[in-house]
Amino acid sequence: MSDVASQLTTADGRPLKAALASAQARAKRRAFFLVLPLLLFILISFAVPIGQMLQRSVYNDQFSKSVPALSQWFAENPKGTAPDEAAFAALASDLVLMKETRAAGDAGTRINYVVSGTRSMFTKAARGADKLEPPFMEAMLELDEDWDNPLVWNAMRSAASPWTFDFYTIAFDLERDADGKLTKVDETQRIYFRLFIKTFLIAGVITAICLVLAFPIAHLLATLPMAKANLLMILVLLPFWTSLLVRTTSWIVLLQGQGVVNDILVALGIIGDDGRLQMIYNQTGTIIAMVHILLPFMVLPLYSVMRVIPVSYTRAARSLGATSWTTFRRIYLPQTIPGIGAGVLLVFILAVGYYITPALVGGADGQLFSNMVQFHMTKANWSMAAALATMLLVGVLVLYWLYDRLIGIDKLKLG
C-alpha cells in the first residue's frame, strides 16, 4: 500500500508528497509568522524567567566568588579531611580578599543559610583579617571557637562551588550533620516543608468549599432562562470587577472583631460580647477571602458544562425509574466531571500560588507558601526564593500530571 502511495505523482510527474509539501509550505510559513510575536512574548515573559528561576535555585556564587584559595584547598583535599593549618591559611587569605572587596557579609550570609549564626563570624574575622599571624588555626580559633566546627567547614566546602542543592535541602526542612548525612531539622525549625504541605491542604479546603458552593449556583444558572441567568452571572462575576484591595477591605470590615458579622452575632445573642470570633488575620480569614475571590473560577467551567447537558438525560433517567438522588448521582454528576475537573484544577492551582490575600488578611497563621517566597525575595535571598518557587511549580505540575492520569486532560473544559 505504502509503495503505491510513494509512487503517486502529480500530472507533471513530481512525487505527490513533495508537491503537497511545497504547496503547503507557503501557508505554513505565513501561519508561523503570524504566531511569531506571541511565541517571542511567551519566550521572553515566561520561559526565560522560569529558566532563570530554576537556575538560581541551584546556583549561588555569593561565597564561591570570594574564596579562591579555600576552593583550591577543598579541591586538593577530599571530603571528610579535617581542616589543617593550610586550610586555615587559605581561609585567612580569602578573608583578606573579602575585606578588600567588602564581600564578607555576603559570603557569611551564604554560610549562615546552612548553619545559622555564622554570618557574624565572617564579618568579625574579615575585619581583622590583615592582622592575622600564623599559625592561622590558633589565631582564628582565638577569634571564635566555632571556626573548627565541622558543620561550618562542610557548609563552606559545599558553598565553594556555586552549584548547590543546599537551598532545596533547607526547603525540605533537612540539614547535613557532621558526617554529611541528611537529617531532619529540629521540630521547631521545620517551617518550609510544613508550610508547603499546609498550603496544599488549605488550597484543598478552599477548592472543596468553592466546589460545594459553586455546584448549586452553576446548576441554577444553567437551568434558568437566559435572561435571568445572565443577571445572576453578573453577580457571580462581580468579584472580578472590583479591585482586590476594595474586596479585601470589605472583608476586613465584615469580619474583624468589632466588625459587622460579630456585631450581628452579639446582637442576636448567639455569642457574648467577650466571645467575639476571630475571623480575620488568621487562617479562617485567608480561607473566607480566598473562597470569595476564587469562586467564579469554579462557577464558570461548571456552568459551561452544565449548560449543554440536555434536560432529556435526567428525564430519561427519571422515566426509567430512578429517584431524583439516583439520577443526580449516576447520570447528572458524571456528566459534569469535565467541569468539576477544570474548576478544581483551576482553583487549586490559583490557591496554591496565592499571595496577596493571605498577606493582607492572613495574619500569622494564615500565610501561605508564596508569602515565604516573597519573604526571601525582600531579603534578597534569591536562591532560597527560587528554590521555594520551584517546589511550588513542581507541586503543581505533579498535580496536573495526576489529573491527567485520573481524569484525562483532554476532558478538561474551561469554557
Partner: protein
Amino acid sequence: MVASRDDAFVSFEHVQKSYDGETLVVKDLNLQLAKGEFLTMLGPSGSGKTTCLMMLAGFETATHGEIRLDGKPINQVPPHKRGIGMVFQNYALFPHMTVGENLSFPLEVRGMGKSEREAKIKRALDMVQMGAFANRRPAQMSGGQQQRIALARALVFDPKLVLMDEPLGALDKQLREHMQFEIKHLHESLGITVVYVTHDQGEALTMSDRVAVFNDGRIQQLAPPAELYERPDNSFVAGFIGENNKLPGVVEDLNGERAVVRLENGELIDATAVNVKAKGEKTLVSIRPERVEFKPELIPEGAHTIDAEVLEVIYMGDILRTRMRVAGHDEFVVKCRNTIDQMPLTPGQRIRIGWNPLDARALDMI
C-alpha cells in the same frame, strides 16, 4: 378498540396546561386510550403534543384536570413511580455508559439481580437486533443504532405504556420507514400501549390505531387513519393531512347530508355537508386530488360537473399530477394513475371535471 371512559387505560379529563399563567398551551384535553392501543399525536409545531406527553410522563404538572393511568389518578405520582417507558427525540442515551449499562440502569434502580438483569438486557437487545453492541458507547454508534438502543432501553423493564416523542425525527427517510415498521411490529408482539408523537403525517397514518390531530392546544379530530384521511371533520384536518383541493363557496341547497355549493364564479358543485348547518352559509369544500374524475363515464349520474383548464402536467412515475384552473383557482390538483390506457392531458386543454358527492366535504371556513 376505542376505550370508554371507565375502562380506559390512560385517560385525560379536561386537562389544561399553561406555562406562564397567561396563555393555555393545552386547552381542555379529553382523551381515552385502551390497553394495547397505538395512538399518535399529530400536529404542527407548537400545538402542545410534547406538553401532553410530558404531563403523562410526569415532567410537567397539569394546570387543571385529571390524568389517569390504569384507573388511578397520577397527577401526584412522581415520574419514577409511573413505570412509563419513554423514547426521546435525541435518544437521551447516557453518554458515559455503555449500551449494556444504559439498559441495565432501569433494572438496577429496580433492585433486580445480576443474572436476571443480564437475561433481560440480552432479550431486549436481541429484540432490536443489536445483540452485538452491548459494549459500545452511544457516541460510537450511528443515529439509527442509537435509536434502536433507546427503544430497547424504554422496553427493557417491561412497561405497560411507552411514550415516544418524535423518535424518528433525526433519521433519514429510508431508515425512518424501516424503524416505523419495527416499532409497529414490537407494539404488536409485546402488546404494549404506545403514545407516539410526530409531525410526519405519513408516519402517523401508517403506524397508528388512532390519530389525534392537534392544533392550537386542542384535539381537532381523533380517529383511525382511514377515517381521518377520507372523512376529515374540519378544514384544519383536511388541510393538514394529505394533499387537498379547497374550493370556497356558499351553500346553495342543503338536503340532509347532501349539499349543493355555489362557487365564487357561479358554478355549482355537489358535496357532503359536514360542518355546514344552513343554506347561505360560507363553506370550504375539500376534495382529495385522486378523487377528482374527468372521464364522463366515471362521474356519477346527475352530479354536477365544472369547467377546468389544464395548466401543467407533472410526470411523477406512478402518477401524473395535473394542475388545473378551476373556478378561478390555479392550484387545483388532480392525480391520476399512470396506466397504459390513461387519457393524456396537455396544457391548455379544457375539460369538465366532477366527483362523487361523498368525496367532496363541505367544511367550516377558516
